[in-house]
């Protein structure tokens, strides 16, 4: 019994320590970058642009395909079901809630975790094994500034843009695809969407995507930098990054939705 309590205590302390160093990593990456006063802008910009290219641009075909499929299914199903109850004018509200508020941020985050979260964790893990991180420290290049900050910034920008792209394709492309199977009035559809979209949807979507972006890339960076000396730790780090990111992103999305509803916003 006492041993179990000891183990629980040790586990709690270890988790608290990990959580503290995780938030410290995020804080220090911002702090050190601000303190450098833009002297290292050129290399940082180059890493950030690469991150946006690999995370954002390269994910567009997959996100586009998923958005089109999701949008078509949701639009088709909702028009059919709502027409049964004579509530077709509620379509805009339903689409806004399902696509803009919930599915957009969640599906975008899952794709980014699968593509870029694993890539960042294994890249940083390999750099650790190959002594590249040590090589940077020797040259007084702060890994938190050169490696972590651009990934956080590039990651957040990419997730925001991809989620916006998802919404456009899902709502626009989905309508086009659904129209082939079930004729819909474009003006009615647009009018319904325009009436339904509020600033709450916009704010909630932006907040959700920003938090997801920070969580995905901070977790991937943290787990990657925790790799010590052995190459076999690298795939383990990638797996850990995926599991942790999915858990935390889901938790944050659910929490934000609950908070919005508890605050009384539609």
């Amino acid at each position: 019994m006492l041993k179990a309590i000891d183990n629980l205590g040790k586990y709690t302390v270890d988790q608290a320590r990990s959580l503290t160093s995780f938030f410290l990593m995020i804080y220090l990456s911002f702090r050190q970058t601000i303190l450098s006063r833009g002297k290292n802008l050129k290399p940082l910009l180059s890493v950030t642009i690469s991150q946006i290219y690999f995370t954002g641009c390269m994910a567009m075909p997959l996100i586009g395909f998923l958005a089109l499929a999701t949008g078509s299914i949701v639009i088709l199903q909702s028009t059919h079901q709502l027409s049964l109850f004579g509530s077709s004018d509620m379509m805009g509200n339903l689409l806004t809630i399902i696509i803009v508020r919930e599915l957009g941020p969640m599906i975008t985050a899952l794709i980014v975790i699968a593509r870029s979260g694993t890539a960042v964790a294994s890249e940083l893990g390999n750099m650790q094994v190959n002594k590249e991180i040590d090589a940077m420290k020797v040259m007084s290049i702060d890994p938190l500034v050169y490696l972590v900050f651009p990934r956080l910034l590039g990651g957040v920008i990419s997730v925001l843009c991809l989620a916006f792209y998802f919404n456009i394709i899902a709502l626009g492309g989905g309508f086009v695809v659904a129209s082939f199977l079930k004729p819909l009035s474009f003006s009615f559809y647009m009018d319904s969407l325009a009436r339904a979209l509020t600033h709450t949807d916009f704010i909630l979507s932006v907040v959700k995507n920003c938090i997801s972006g920070v969580l995905i890339f901070a977790i991937a960076s943290y787990v990657g930098l925790k790799v010590k000396q052995s190459p076999h730790e690298v795939p383990q780090a990638a797996t850990k990054a995926v599991v942790l990111s999915i858990g935390f992103v889901t938790l944050s999305n659910v929490s934000l939705t609950l908070i919005t509803y508890l605050m009384g916003a539609r």
């Binding site: 290292n40 750099m127 590249e132 040590d134 940077m136 040259m139 290049i141 050169y146």
Partner: protein, 238 residues
């Protein structure tokens, strides 16, 4: 500002809690203004000693003093000046794999905003020429031979014209021609620039012959000790 004194006082270091100490109650006033060879059996902690001296890892207790100032109390930024006075050549690795050689060399200059473009290019080209790396400077580290990679690692240690040079097994995988280049570069930097303190982890007798008056530091069971201390201040003896 000069780098005048490096000192360990009752220093303890280990990589993880619960592991054995690699440096335990280590105390040494490091020999300055000369070449020091560091010896010790495999796993004795020679590379770890360099990591501590370069501030790559954080010590557990005791003091590491540079010019009398405690390194463990310095932030990354505060230690920056001292670190830029130290050139380090890794035994293996140490080049960034997704950058080609020229970008690897240019990165620290861009990051710190030191020197203008023309001077950076001249300096980088100088070291590429000395080690015959000019023809492969646009290739990534994984695309070049291990000998060329080793030469690049060594060349990089000289980039900032350091006051202290730390070479970890510099002759491992290095051909005769590059070894000659290395020794002549050390001599040139001692004469023309500000290179004063040289620490080399190596048991290579051939390399030691170039520095007959070297000091010897021994690392054994967590302790570091000065085995011999030369009476002469020296330059490389080619």
């Amino acid at each position: 500002m000069d780098l005048n004194k490096l000192e360990f006082k009752n220093l303890y270091f280990r990589y993880e809690q619960g592991e054995t100490f690699l440096l335990e109650k280590a105390t040494l006033d490091f020999p300055m203004n000369q070449v020091s060879f560091i010896h010790g059996s495999t796993g004795a902690g020679k590379s770890t000693l360099f990591k501590v001296m370069l501030g790559i890892v954080t010590i557990e207790s005791g003091d590491y003093l540079i010019n009398g100032l405690k390194v463990q109390n310095m932030s990354f930024e505060e230690f920056k000046w001292y670190r830029l006075q130290m050139g380090y050549a890794f035994d293996v690795g140490g080049l960034i794999s997704n950058l080609n050689l020229i970008d690897n060399f240019q990165l620290p200059f861009d990051y710190h905003g030191i020197l203008d473009k023309k001077m950076i290019k001249e300096r980088i080209d100088f070291y590429f020429d000395r080690f015959n790396l000019s023809s492969i400077k646009h290739l990534r580290p994984s695309m070049i031979s291990s000998g060329a990679r080793k030469a690049a690692i060594l060349a990089k240690a000289f980039l900032f014209h350091p006051q202290a040079l730390y070479l970890n097994n510099p002759t491992l995988g290095l051909n005769q021609e590059h070894m000659g280049t290395l020794v002549s570069l050390i001599e040139q930097h001692q004469k023309e620039f500000n290179l004063k303190h040289i620490f080399i982890i190596s048991d290579d007798q051939e390399l030691m012959k170039f520095f007959p008056q070297h000091a010897q530091i021994n690392v054994h069971q967590g302790q570091i000790s000065l085995v011999t201390k030369p009476s002469l201040k020296l330059a490389g003896n080619l």
